[in-house]
């Protein structure tokens, strides 16, 4: 699965994208897995209320299932326009 990071999430984790092999069934489980990896992940995912997630390029939420998902992205609330 491709995992993408944008804005300060990307800066905190230090990479824009990585390929992850995971058994996580939901976004939350994936977040837990990432958090346990390294301090920079734990820091990036410290406050989920400050984060948004997209699954296969559709806005989603942390309870969402990952079955069949090819791409998950984490980022702060958007500031377009």
């Amino acid at each position: 699965m491709d995992v993408l990071y944008f804005a300060w999430v990307r800066e905190r984790i230090g990479i824009p994208k990585e390929r992850i092999e995971t058994e996580a069934a939901t976004v939350s489980e994936l977040v837990d897995e990432l958090r346990s990896r390294e301090a920079r992940y734990a820091a990036a995912f410290a406050d989920l209320s400050a984060l948004r997630v997209a699954v296969d390029q559709e806005l989603s939420d942390f309870d969402a299932t990952l079955s069949g998902a090819r791409e998950v992205a984490f980022f702060p609330p958007m500031t377009g326009g």
């Binding site: 993408l4 990307r10 559709e58 702060p76 958007m78 377009g80 326009g81």
Partner: protein, 145 residues
């Protein structure tokens, strides 16, 4: 309906003219253009986006507007990359038989673009750099639709 996501500048006047030209099926054209404000000592605003998702999100938002209002046409242009104060960040345009529809649809597009299109802004002023935080009022603005 035309959706453009690009790093290059766009010509606001030319796009507005082209959007409005040769139409006699609509009576009302509304455009909105966002400009980088030169607040404080801002040097540059960097806009990051999510290629692939951005275009999809903009098409969804514009498509929704076309379902809710009687629109002859919709245009959305949004830039990414580094922009200097005074540069145009983006524009939307709506064409409708009547002004109420054109205004409401343009405001709807802007409200959703602000909070639901995957763009993020970073401001650089001298040595300082900070990500622009989403505003509660922008999230609240969605409630009226």
């Amino acid at each position: 309906m035309r959706i453009v996501v690009q790093d290059a500048p766009f010509d606001f006047g030319e796009e507005a003219e082209r959007f409005a030209a040769g139409r006699s099926d609509v009576g009302a054209i509304v455009t909105f253009s966002g400009i980088v404000r030169g607040d404080g000592d801002l040097d540059v605003m960097e806009i990051e986006h999510y290629p692939g998702m951005t275009e999809k999100a903009l098409e969804q938002i514009a498509g929704e507007a076309k379902e809710r209002w009687s629109l002859g046409d919709v245009l959305v242009i949004h830039r990414y990359g580094p922009l200097r104060p005074g540069e145009k960040i983006m524009m939307v345009a709506t064409a409708a038989p009547h002004r109420k529809d054109a205004f409401e649809a343009a405001e709807y597009l802007m409200d959703y673009l602000k909070s639901r299109a995957p763009f993020w802004k970073k401001e650089r002023a001298g040595e300082d750099a900070s990500w622009v935080a989403a505003k509660d009022e922008d999230e609240a603005a969605l409630d009226r639709w």
